[in-house]
């Protein structure tokens, strides 16, 4: 189908070296695979208008979803449907991605075929949360898309005040630094909390992100309410021959490794690399730079951090340590139990739209620890408090 609306402004974004999203919208607008090209055609028209007027033309409105779920579909409507009827409805469907974002071409084609039949032919691979995002369809098509997807083994992801689709780094599938099986844990968490994912019943959203080590390729510390970051106990294993090879091949071990170690726990005499492991804080710098020579200690597990969120409403938080070390092996009951205690605390005290991190700030970290039964540990803080205004409870004072 030839282009319906002229688009001189966004045509500028077909130029240049980097792959162009405008080209992709045009492909969907013209593709013979896509049954209804009007979605992409009118998206081009409306986007051109946004570029001209410098303002968005989407609005909220209506209630959409699939029967029984309160999550996984995001309603979107044009605010000028008369001009662009193809995007009068342009709802997003979030499809729960497989762990590590691995696919067979067969599976991808299956999704493409369904989406070409019922939607715009446009996707995000992937959304920031991790889901496969199917971008743009109308309300009447939601149940058919869901039936087609779910009958082939695909389920929807989370949205709203629910568990959001958990996601993870590539982990043990293709990374030598994974301290636990991020893909398996992600799968197990997702399955365990299906009800909480599809049927929003929290004060606000809750995100899990699983990173295999402190490199944190999934940015869990910045964007998950619960960040599970792999780490280890025990000495870094050194292959001195390989260290010397790195030196021979031009690496300045003193400047690039020893001097950049944040804890100053390494030394290098031109022949042997020494690490005082007691002082190492496991930042991963040296291991990441000398992957052939250095390997993590042998007792592997993870640190659990809690609370990160975006600046809305009271400023951004990064997650902070609540469990310094936990072994993560199936069936993960210790972890699930912890999660449930945290949710109970949040359910009990959380206000509408209050993330768990904000709640803990409001109530106090010590109150949270006490109510969830977590023992305090110096790893939880950068430094102890500066003020003398601390509290005691009944049992701490003599009567």
């Amino acid at each position: 189908m030839p282009q319906k609306h002229p688009t001189p402004l966004i045509d500028e974004l077909e130029k240049g070296a980097f792959p162009s999203f405008v080209k992709e919208i045009k492909r969907a607008a013209e593709s013979s695979n896509v049954q209804d090209n009007n979605y992409a055609q009118d998206l081009l028209g409306q986007l051109e208008l946004s570029y001209k007027e410098k303002k968005t033309h989407w609005k909220h409105g209506g209630i959409v979803g699939v029967r029984g779920y309160g999550s996984g579909v995001i309603g979107r409507y044009s605010d000028i449907p008369d001009q662009f009827p193809g995007v009068a409805h342009f709802h997003t469907i979030r499809v729960n991605q497989p762990g590590g974002f691995f696919y067979t071409t067969e599976a991808l084609r299956e999704i493409c075929d369904i989406w070409d039949k019922y939607g715009s032919g446009l996707t995000n691979m992937h959304g920031s949360t991790g889901d496969i995002i199917l971008l743009g369809t109308k309300t009447d098509n939601l149940e058919p898309v869901f039936a087609e997807l779910s009958s082939r083994g695909w389920d929807l992801g989370g949205s709203g005040s629910a568990v959001r689709t958990p996601s993870c780094c590539v982990g043990p599938a293709r990374c030598e630094w994974a301290c636990y099986d991020t893909l398996e844990l992600t799968y197990q968490i997702t399955q365990r909390f299906q009800d909480e994912l599809h049927r929003p019943m929290f004060p606000y959203k809750f995100k899990f992100k699983m990173a295999g080590c402190a490199v944190d390729c999934i940015a869990s510390i910045a964007r998950a309410d619960m960040s599970i970051i792999g780490t280890w106990k025990g000495n870094i294993q050194i292959d001195q021959d390989e260290v010397r090879n790195y030196a021979k091949n031009g690496m300045d071990i003193q400047a690039e490794i020893v001097d950049m170690c944040p804890t100053g726990c390494m030394s290098w005499d031109g022949n042997e690399l020494k690490i005082n492991d007691e002082d190492c804080n496991r930042c991963m710098h040296c291991i990441a730079k000398m992957t052939k020579a250095l390997r993590q200690g042998e007792e592997k597990g993870a640190t659990i951090l809690l609370g990160s969120k975006a600046p809305i409403v009271t400023g951004a938080l990064m997650s902070w340590v609540i469990v310094p070390f936990i072994k993560l092996e199936p069936p993960y009951e210790e972890l699930f139990d912890l999660v449930e205690r945290i949710w109970e605390f949040w359910d009990e005290h959380g206000k509408n739209r209050e993330r768990v991190g904000e709640l803990i700030e409001r109530m106090g970290f010590p109150v949270f620890l006490k109510e969830t039964g977590i023992e305090p540990h110096p790893a939880m803080v950068k430094e102890p408090r500066r003020d003398p205004f601390f509290f005691w409870s009944e049992e701490d004072v003599e009567k």
């Binding site: 402004l9 240049g16 303002k55 743009g136 082939r152 964007r223 950049m260 730079k289 809305i312």
Partner: protein, 357 residues
Amino acid sequence: MSELPQRQTDIGPPHYSKFLPPVIKENYGKWRYHEILSAGVMVHVAESGAKVWTVRVASPRLVSTDFIRDICEIADKYCDGHLRFTTRHNVEFLVSDESKVDPLVNELKEKGYMIGGIGDRISNVVHTQGWVHCHSAATDASGLVKVMMDELHEYFTEKELPAKVRLAVACCVNMCGAVHCSDIALVGVHKTPPRIEHDKVKNLCEIPSTVASCPTSAISPDPAKKSVKIKIEKCMYCGNCYSVCPAMPISDPKNDGVAIVVGGKVSNLRSNPKFSKLAVPWLPNNPPRWPEVVENVKKILNAYIEGAKKHERLGEWVERIGWEKFFKVTGLPFQLQHIDDFTFARETWRMAATFKW
């Protein structure tokens, strides 16, 4: 209409093991080390000696089903029908047979794919939906990504940097993306308070939750109008109220713009994860190619390349030289807006007499 298949609920995602290439399955959890062979190719070596080569290409993230079919065809030809995506929206082709690497790279080049993003370079840009799909967008995320990367693509495909530089774009201060912890990030911002459409508030909004939505307590009920009022001097234009009450639109094409924040990181390597800090409070929202934004991003990137030591991330470089010097070497003006007056403000003031001229 044809019969629909039986729907199922609460099945969760397919198990990942269904989709792993054989070489990955066999060596799962048993990788030994990896080497970066070029900007877009790396090899992972397992304990067993098995190897897997990864070839990475950029995608615009917003892709058509035909794009997906194209990459599937390539994956069928070279990778026995397997492929994966990265958290930063790149596509990765995995091969276990070294003789297939060069032909794969050649075919990808021939077909115009952009190969790269591995190592101390700029990888793909994490970003949000913008005018393509969101109701609160102050600017367009996909467009900003495109114009920025058109200018910086050599740092994706070949040129090395002192360390990785992670870019992100969020089209409003909700920042669905990972902007607040990126080396250089763009955020759409408003400069003016929302306008209250009093006649609509009644029907569209719940007054108590609208009042409660404001982080600075600028909103109070206006019982006479059955609506709300805003104490303008308290409003910080966050748009939070608009998210809760659609009758308080905040978009203002003449004044909406783009801010640049820098120096964030999420990895724990060397220094702790850091939030991004404000470098440029406002640049004009100037589609389709946002020249002012691109120019300022380049200014910051060039100063970093000039000044940083090897392995030093942008935020680590700035912390070493000091923020006062950052403004000097980049030539960016320092203004009132740079001084924090929000939740964590006092932590950011200089409580010492030492600083650089």
